[in-house]
């Protein structure tokens, strides 16, 4: 009983404190905006870079943190004018598991520490993104909100702020174009690279590591309820799996083509696009990346073949021929063996009977 009272008491104490804080914050905001409400407010970093210190009040009011006081996040600001070095905001002040203010927190966030971004940040790379670089600062919103910079529609743009070259390549791709055509399933950066788990493509655990590419692509391209909706064939993953490329990559082959080796990475285009790596005239060049001396012969014949389907052409007929050859030979041989045994059995019986 005493324990329960203690907890209830603590709860009231905390909520009371929180209410006070919020009230203080709400009052404090205009104070901050006296300076930070001016669009011209900026600061020159030691590196010479000029950064804006302007805070758009309207943006802040629309954000998920509308009810927060400036100092809830900028906790190192205790006086005006500010003293000492102003540090980056640390989100984990609130976003930790079991936090009392109800800030969202999932275990997956912790994967950030093992991600390529997290490792770089921990190593002291000032350019490595932390939470607010992707999720936004004063404009932070839940990803479901279409105005969020973490909303699927804005992810390429958000990532592109740092990964500019990749972003411009991606904007040429069929994935981006499909996305523009309101095909919301089309892949954005995070669909292939992951979110908090994002890793270097050289890390064997990465979704984009060379042997894991087929698996990553297959999440959409083998799913009838994803790409099937748009009339894209789903058996390409299976036919790749049956090819020497597919088998070798599954069982530890490294010098072997995955989806991206032929189709491209960020700038994947449809095969009827003359700029596509798999456009028929580009096939010798594409195959030639691995197969020395590749010529037009490489383009004669389909690439993704299912020998059990008529579209496979001659391969289908050869497969059919062998199927019936094998069946008939086996029927003949097993028949011969069975008759032989049958005769032996009869003779043995006859020998035992008087």
């Amino acid at each position: 009983m005493a324990m329960r009272i203690g907890r209830v008491g603590l709860f009231f104490l905390l909520t009371g404190l929180l209410t006070l804080l919020l009230a203080g914050g709400a009052q404090a905001m205009p104070k901050c905006l006296v300076c930070h409400g001016k669009p011209s407010l900026s600061k020159t970093l030691p590196s010479g870079r000029v950064i804006s210190l302007f805070v758009d009040e309207k943006q802040l009011k629309d954000s998920a943190h509308a009810a927060r006081a400036c100092t809830d996040c900028h906790s190192d600001i205790t006086a005006i004018p500010h003293k000492g070095e102003i540090k980056r905001v640390s989100c984990v002040r609130c976003h930790f598991k079991g936090n009392p203010v109800g800030a969202p927190q999932k275990d997956i966030y912790l994967e950030y520490g093992k991600s390529v971004h997290g490792i770089a940040a921990a190593a002291g790379n000032a350019k490595a993104p932390v939470c607010q670089d992707c999720h936004g600062t004063h404009n932070i919103r839940p990803p479901k909100n279409t105005a969020s910079q973490m909303n699927r529609a804005h992810i390429p743009e958000t990532c592109g702020r740092c990964h500019l070259a990749v972003y411009s390549e991606y904007r040429e791709s069929v994935h981006w174009k499909a996305f523009q055509e309101k095909k919301a399933d089309s892949a954005v950066c995070t669909d292939c690279h992951g979110e908090h788990t994002i890793k270097s493509h050289q890390n064997p655990e990465s979704m984009t590591y060379l042997t894991r590419v087929p698996e990553t692509c297959s999440r959409c391209h083998a799913a009838v309820d994803v790409v099937g909706k748009y009339g894209i064939k789903t058996e390409q993953v299976a036919t790749y799996g049956r090819s020497f490329h597919g088998i070798a990559i599954k069982y530890g082959g490294k010098a072997v083509a995955n989806c991206a080796s032929c189709h491209g990475v960020h700038d994947i285009r449809p095969s009827n696009d003359p700029k596509s790596a798999v456009y028929i005239e580009n096939i010798p060049k594409t195959c030639g990346k691995c197969h020395a001396g590749a010529n037009v012969n490489y383009a004669k014949g389909k690439i993704h073949i299912d020998p059990t389907k008529r579209e496979a052409g001659l391969v289908y007929w050869v497969s059919l021929l062998f199927k019936y050859l094998t069946i008939s030979v086996m029927v003949g041989l097993v028949g011969h063996i069975s008759l032989d045994l049958f005769r032996r059995l009869r003779r043995r019986k006859a020998a035992h009977e008087p």
Partner: protein
């Protein structure tokens, strides 16, 4: 006559129990001779007749015994002199031929073990296999080692067929003939109980010919398609990509067909067949027993017997033992026709 003969033979003159008619006759004669107070001449004549009769009977008995002992000795001598009538063996496969088979066997074993996991790449056993050998790179290398063996023995075999007398002879024997078709039908009739005997085969039965030509076809398909896949970049300088796809399909399917034929058919014929279980050793020793040769390859056996005098220990010539000192010219002359002629000794 027969009875008398039988009596004579069964009643030796060793004085034991002369059988009734003879005894009675002799006793009567003796009694008459003693009681009748015969003249000197008559008594002498009577004695002579008795002596002659006894002599003839003794000769007959001795001859019978000698014949019996002779037969026993003969059997014993034959058994010793020609040791355990050594089951004769013939060479069926030469060392050269067996070496080819051995290389083929080992190559196929490697190729099958490293090839099937590629065909059944979705099976868990394949996963286990690749984990075990250390990935697809290692299994590829092993597969190519097997391929070198297979190609090597294939090329050598062609050379063997041309350059060796034995090779040429075997090849001619292996060539399909109309008889193979009739043999097959007769074999089915035998299986169904409509014949009591299997057809009579020559050096190679239709089963062995099928095995040989199946391997021949398999080698052509597997080596041809395998080389395209091995030297893909070179092959694609001349061939369109779909030819490589066909090669891959044929390689995969024929590989399975060959594997099934080996596991089901060849293993049955060599190992599981009740006649040879657990194994017909001819592929190791190269030898086949005379009985087996006669049973499974009667035509070859007969041709062999006809064409060559097979060296063998000559059977013991009983003539050299010489005749026994028996006087064949001493027929019993005692009357009443109770004795048969001499010389009717046991064969």
């Amino acid at each position: 006559m027969n009875e008398g003969q039988h009596d004579n033979q069964a009643a030796p003159g060793v004085g034991v129990d002369l059988q009734d008619p003879l005894r009675r006759e002799l006793e009567g004669e003796i009694r008459r001779a003693v009681e009748a107070e015969l003249s000197e001449e008559l008594g002498q004549e009577s004695r002579d007749r008795v002596v002659t009769r006894l002599k003839a009977e003794l000769i007959e008995e001795i001859q019978a015994r000698v014949a019996r002992v002779k037969a026993e000795l003969e059997a014993e001598i034959l058994a010793r002199v020609i040791p355990a009538p050594a089951p004769r063996e013939f060479e069926r496969f030469s060392g050269n031929f067996r070496a080819q088979h051995m290389v083929l066997l080992l190559s196929c074993l490697i190729l099958i073990i490293t090839g099937l996991p590629l065909k059944f790449h979705e099976a868990r056993l394949s996963q286990l296999f690749f984990d075990l050998v250390g990935g697809v790179q290692v299994s590829t290398l092993l597969h190519r080692i097997g391929a070198v063996g297979l190609i090597g023995v294939g090329v050598y075999h062609l050379f063997y067929l041309v350059a060796f007398r034995e090779g040429r002879r075997n090849f001619l024997e292996l060539f399909p003939r109309p008889k193979d078709v009739t043999d097959l039908f007769q074999m089915f009739r035998y299986f169904l109980g409509k014949r009591d005997e299997t057809p009579r085969f020559g050096r190679f039965s239709y089963v062995e010919k099928f095995d040989y030509w199946a391997v021949y076809w398999g080698m052509v398909v597997m080596i041809g398609s395998g080389l395209i896949l091995w030297f893909l970049e070179t092959a694609l300088q001349f061939l369109p990509k779909f030819a490589a796809d066909i090669a891959r399909e044929a390689h995969s399917d024929e590989g399975l067909l060959a594997t099934l034929a080996i596991i089901i058919w060849h293993f049955y014929n060599v190992h599981l067949n009740p006649e040879h279980f657990p194994m017909n050793r001819t592929f190791l020793t190269g030898r086949i027993s005379e009985a087996e040769l006669r049973q499974y390859h009667p035509l070859e056996y007969e041709a062999l017997m006809a064409s060559q005098t097979v060296r063998q220990t000559p059977p013991l010539d009983l003539a050299t033992v010489g005749p026994l000192p028996v006087d064949p010219m001493a027929p019993p002359t005692v009357g009443h026709g109770t004795t048969g002629p001499p010389g009717q000794q046991a064969p």
